[in-house]
């Protein structure tokens, strides 16, 4: 029997504020930044001065998740990041070119590695426990969750595992997405993302951390039932992969009350989602969210936040709905995501 895993604390930063359901922030840029809190309220200025946006967002959301769960020190910190600390990588490479590979400043080099985020969270907390970073493109956060799952199965007494996904935008490297049409060619409003039938999407950044516990607590949102990653699959093969994933969890497609899909408006790849929307989840409440927060490698962090909040509150914001199905009490939520037809992920959450 599998150990139970519960999402008991959440911290999130994205391009939207908490009241996105009523007052969504509108952007008319192909790449837009996250709406961030005042980081000085969370991190001391002397520590803050060296941190790039990814590290600031990661540390702050980790602290928020811990505070939400009333936990001071996690037993493990597991971070997922698709592209890591791009800003410091850029700074380091620019200096390398400007100064002809001589007299390079150490700070951007030290801070440019992917595991800087997890390391800085540990330094901030004084946490010397298990600390691992996963970088698996758009399945990075899911890889981190799977590691938490394995950690709990190896040691059922484990508790309070901090898992999160972080990615930032940077001037040059984020702009590279233009080169192979990952971005739209013309500026569009984010809320019009699904009205525009063209290749490419809009990109942004964000960070979401989750405190996982093996027991239900007062602040518990939902149970994390299972996760699956499929590196490559055809549109047709996806349906049987989803059915197989659900069967492994003693479920059928009709048992899923809400499916949260990662449609990003790229007409070259959204058929993966549309195939499910018109197929096995035709009669299921379908939600989409990337018109709010843009696309990035760990954007599913926002989907986990949505799923957890829906399962706890029972309320589904209208701005997320891609179809209109009479509302039922939400028990099972499936999150499905892919990017550029690769790194398909399935995550199953249940109400407690």
């Amino acid at each position: 029997m599998k150990n139970k895993i519960y999402i008991t604390g959440i911290g999130g930063i994205s391009a939207q504020k908490n009241d996105f359901a009523e007052n969504p922030l509108v952007y008319e840029q192909l790449i837009f930044k996250a709406h961030t809190p005042n980081f000085k309220e969370f991190i001391k200025p002397m520590a803050l001065r060296r941190m790039s946006q990814a590290v600031k967002m990661g540390v702050t959301t980790a602290l928020l998740a811990l505070k939400d769960a009333k936990v001071e020190l996690p037993e493990a910190i597991i971070t997922g990041t698709g592209e890591g600390c791009k800003k410091d990588t850029e700074r380091f490479l620019e200096k390398l070119l400007d100064q002809r590979e001589d007299l390079l400043n150490p700070t951007p080099f030290i801070q440019s590695t992917h595991n800087t985020i997890g390391g800085q969270i540990a330094l901030h907390l004084g946490c010397k426990n298990y600390n691992v970073t996963y970088s698996q493109n758009s399945a990075s956060l899911e890889s981190a969750f799977i590691d938490a799952q394995l950690l709990l199965s190896e040691n059922p007494k484990s508790n309070n595992i901090l898992v999160g996904g972080v990615d930032e935008v940077s001037e040059v490297i984020s702009g590279f997405r233009n080169l192979d049409q990952q971005l739209k060619t013309k500026k569009i409003k984010n809320l019009d993302l699904f009205k525009d039938d063209s290749p490419g999407t809009i990109a942004s950044e964000g960070s979401h951390f989750f405190l996982l516990t093996s027991e239900i607590k007062e602040s518990t949102y939902a149970e994390l039932i299972d996760l699956g990653i499929i590196n490559s699959v055809s549109t047709q093969g996806l349906t049987s992969e989803v059915e197989s994933f659900l069967t492994n969890n003693q479920l059928k497609p009709e048992d899923i009350d809400v499916v949260i899909l990662g449609n990003n408006g790229d007409n070259r790849f959204d058929h993966f989602y549309e195939n499910l929307q018109q197929g096995i989840f035709k009669n299921t409440q379908q939600l989409v969210y990337k018109h709010l927060i843009g696309e990035y490698e760990t954007a599913t962090g926002f989907a986990f936040l949505l799923a957890a909040n829906i399962l706890k509150s029972g309320e589904i914001p209208g701005i997320l709905k891609a179809n209109n199905i009479p509302e039922v009490k939400t028990k099972n939520i499936l999150i499905y995501n892919q990017y550029l037809a690769r790194d398909h992920s399935l995550s199953l959450l249940r109400a407690v």
Partner: protein, 88 residues
């Protein structure tokens, strides 16, 4: 050559910029204040940045890392060392 006072100001400006001391103005750093520990509160990564700064801006290459302990005591000490050893 810069006057001593100009060098002091220049050093303070470089330190604030290079070490991202966002909360500080160059004038906030006093000439005698310890740069590490209880004073400005710089750390070992800052020490590496200061070594790079000495070589890049003043042509001074520190061969013995231990020298840093004596040089990076305060703005006054740094300025004095630069005046005596600068090659540019």
């Amino acid at each position: 050559m810069l006057k001593m006072t100009d060098l002091h100001t220049e050093l303070k400006e470089s330190i604030v910029e290079q070490l991202n001391l966002e909360e500080m103005e160059p004038a906030d750093i006093s000439d005698e204040e310890p740069l590490f520990g209880d004073g400005l509160g710089l750390d070992s990564i800052d020490a590496l940045e200061l070594i790079v700064l000495l070589e890049k801006d003043y042509g001074i290459k520190l061969t013995e890392p231990e020298q840093g302990r004596e040089i990076f005591v305060s703005i006054n000490k740094m300025a004095q060392f630069i005046e005596e050893n600068r090659t540019k």
